[in-house]
């Protein structure tokens, strides 16, 4: 019974959905204030979601309707499933097993994959270009992001999220693995397609990218999935690099601090072209994080 409650309400399910929307609002509000705008009211993400859910979903001609309707559901389900393995609200994860870090990371990638497939499924030219860009971006940030999150795992000697979290509680890995922290944070921006990595949905070129044909429920689910992923991503990076998450207070303080950093980065830069994004990740991101890995292994070997 308590497991079902945990899955449906707290800390999984509804809490994650509500939290995701709250984080989306915080992000939008922070960016707006940095850009000298007023920004949305606190309930705007909820209002958007309710409005979209209530709207008719138009299935364009030429698409596979099963995929068109199914992909948003899979995307959100992937993100929600990932939530049960991470220390949300600073509490122990609902489920945990050795190697759950890898499962979580792949569940998080499901959203991007679904977005790409959803774009490729429609016959819209903007969607097709957007889908190509989404998947190109996935292949560029995914490896460095993965390596950046495996750095703490290497240091902790475990690939289980709650054990890494416990280890990080005594070790601020931000200080010992600064490169990994930066790559993880920027990788999170790439994953969430936040500016300056928003080439896949650059409105001045390809309207809304892969999701151009989506309206109503499908769009709402994709947006919710994105919000949940923002929350989980912040939780992961904060728990690994910012000294672990032991209680709700720590959780909110650290994730919001990270979010502030994210909004600074978002409002600082112009959009990167997709070739520049790929170049950035493979030329700098991947190499730097690999160099840090090498250093970690060497130091670990010497210390032993």
């Amino acid at each position: 019974m308590s497991e079902i409650l945990a899955l449906l309400f707290f800390p999984g399910g509804l809490f994650v959905l509500a939290g995701g929307m709250a984080y989306e609002w915080a992000d939008r509000k922070l960016v707006a204030r940095l850009q000298n705008r007023v920004g949305p009211r606190w309930f705007q993400p909820l209002a958007d979601t309710v409005k979209l859910l209530a709207k008719e979903e138009v299935i364009p001609s030429g698409v596979n309707a099963f995929l068109f309707l199914g992909l948003p559901v899979v995307a959100l389900a992937g993100a929600l499933t990932a939530a049960i393995y991470v220390p949300l609200a600073g509490l122990n994860p609902i489920y945990s097993f050795p190697g759950d870090l890898i499962v979580t990371l792949y569940l998080l990638s499901l959203l991007t994959l679904c977005t790409g497939l959803a774009g490729a499924n429609t016959a819209n030219t903007f969607s097709l270009v957007g889908a190509t860009r989404t998947l190109t971006q996935l292949f560029s940030y995914e490896a460095p992001f993965l390596l950046a999150l495996l750095g703490p795992a290497l240091a902790a000697g475990s690939w289980q999220i709650n054990q890494i979290n416990a280890y990080a509680h005594d070790h601020w890995l931000l200080l010992t693995q600064p490169v990994g922290f930066v790559v993880a944070l920027i990788g999170l921006m790439g994953k969430l397609e936040l500016p300056p990595f928003d080439a896949p949905e650059a409105e001045t070129e390809i309207v809304a990218g892969a999701l151009t044909e989506y309206s109503g429920r499908g769009l709402a689910l994709f947006r919710l999935g994105r919000n949940v992923e923002l929350m989980i991503g912040l939780t992961l990076v904060a728990s690994f690099y910012l000294g672990g998450l032991g209680n709700p207070l720590e959780f909110f303080a650290k994730t919001l601090a990270l979010l502030l950093g994210l909004s600074f980065l978002q409002s600082l830069m112009a959009r990167l072209r997709i070739d520049q994004t790929v170049g950035l990740w493979w030329r700098y991101g991947a190499l730097l994080v690999l160099a840090q890995w090498l250093a970690l292994i060497l130091i670990g070997g010497l210390a032993r």
Partner: protein, 400 residues
């Protein structure tokens, strides 16, 4: 089972349509970019969605009514349109406008240039996905909008001109307000110049993109800041001074690089030049009348008048038949001259650069849309208003 849509074009061309309705466009226009992966291999431009028939409409209004009609050709450079028209009609009518009025015309024209360039800076930054610069520059643009409102009573379509003069005077208090506004803007402009020339991420999007050599610029007939960014020394305020520009030392702003960065730099440096010109005008404002008497009928004849609009050379042809309405008025706006460069420059660039290249010429669609009917085997000559109207009705009937 739903039916798979087969790509209509079997030649394996992948065409990205931008427009007529698209987030990158603030006004309707249509661009078709043929892309190979992300590289543009061909580009086509189609214009004419906001053709309003203003030139024809001038023929059924008198000289004074036309002043207000022509001012509405463009919402951004409205003053230059009215000024070009006034200068032409005054030349035809043989009227000399008092120097104080000419100075005030130039002053409003420079204020308009400031607001137009700041607006462009924001739009161009937005096309590059740099929304922070967009928001900041548009916030600061409010300063000059307030100044214009304080002077003329309007934020756009100032109606500062009259045939034979201007409508309002500038007193000492207003001069001080303008100077305060300019001081603030000058400081901000220095910051923007620093941003567009030193922000590494932004430079990646502008440096070396949309490269136009001086030969290309001459061949394509570019005008205004777009041409000056390629090193073409062409500025009507210097080459053919009008209004009060004969008495004002204007320095030309040139850049030889020819890329998007140069277009940013030239437009921002022109802002400094405008600040200097406005201060000069305020310091040397001649005393005297604001208006002279203008005849109601303009004697028969034809003339051209050219002014340097914020986007480049604005050209007016005015023909009078001796009555109180013009025989023919023809306006050629700078966007018309620059538009061809978009289709040429697009080829070989990435799709992501297209909005930037388009914004680089500072396009203004509604002023450049016009209808030209070319048919072989038909005699030329002017259409009557009824024939034009009937043509429009038939055209849309055929479409539906």
């Amino acid at each position: 089972m739903t039916e798979r849509v087969v790509m209509a074009d079997k030649r394996e061309k992948f065409i990205i349509p931008i427009g007529p309705q698209h987030p990158a466009l603030k006004e309707p226009g249509h661009f078709e970019f043929t892309v190979d992966d992300e590289i543009v291999t061909d580009a086509a431009v189609r214009l004419g969605y906001v053709h309003r028939g203003i030139e024809k409409a001038t023929e059924s209004r008198n000289w004074i009514q036309n002043l207000y009609l022509l001012e509405r050709i463009c919402g951004i450079c409205s003053h230059t349109h009215a000024m070009a028209y006034c200068l032409g009609v005054e030349k035809l009518g043989g009227v000399t406008v008092p120097p104080r009025a000419q100075a005030i015309r130039s002053l409003v024209a420079e204020l308009e240039r400031i607001h137009s360039h700041l607006l462009w800076l924001g739009v161009a930054a937005h096309e590059a996905g740099f929304d922070t610069l967009f928001m900041y520059s548009w916030r600061d643009r409010e300063t000059v909008m307030d100044v214009l409102e304080g002077l003329t009573g309007n934020r756009v379509n100032y109606s500062a001109n009259l045939l034979g003069g201007v409508k309002f005077d500038i007193n000492g208090d207003q001069g001080d307000t303008i100077r305060r506004g300019l001081d603030f803007l000058e400081e901000r402009t220095r910051y923007y110049l620093d941003v567009v020339t030193s922000d590494a991420v932004f430079l990646q999007r502008t440096r070396g993109i949309g490269l136009t050599t001086i030969e290309q610029a001459e061949r394509l007939g570019l005008v205004g800041p777009t041409a000056r960014a390629s090193g073409v020394a062409r500025d009507l305020r210097i080459d053919a001074p009008y209004a009060a520009y004969g008495d004002i030392p204007v320095k030309i702003v040139l850049d030889s690089a020819g890329d998007l960065e140069a277009r940013f730099v030239v437009r921002i440096k022109e802002l400094f030049e405008s600040y200097r010109i406005i201060r000069h005008i305020l310091d040397h404002l001649p005393e005297g009348e604001l208006q002279t008497k203008m005849p109601r009928r303009i004697k028969a004849g034809e003339t051209i008048s050219r002014v340097e609009a914020p986007r480049g050379e604005l050209f007016y042809f005015i023909k009078s038949n001796g009555t109180d309405t013009p025989e023919r008025i023809k306006a050629r706006t700078p966007t018309m001259c620059n538009m061809a460069s978009v289709a040429v420059l697009a080829v070989g660039h990435q799709l992501a650069d297209m909005p930037m290249i388009l914004a680089g010429i500072d396009p203004c669609f509604s002023c450049n849309d016009r209808s030209v009917v070319i048919r072989q085997g038909e005699e030329g000559g002017a259409w009557t208003w009824e024939r034009l109207r009937q043509y429009g009705i038939d055209f849309y009937r055929r479409q539906s």
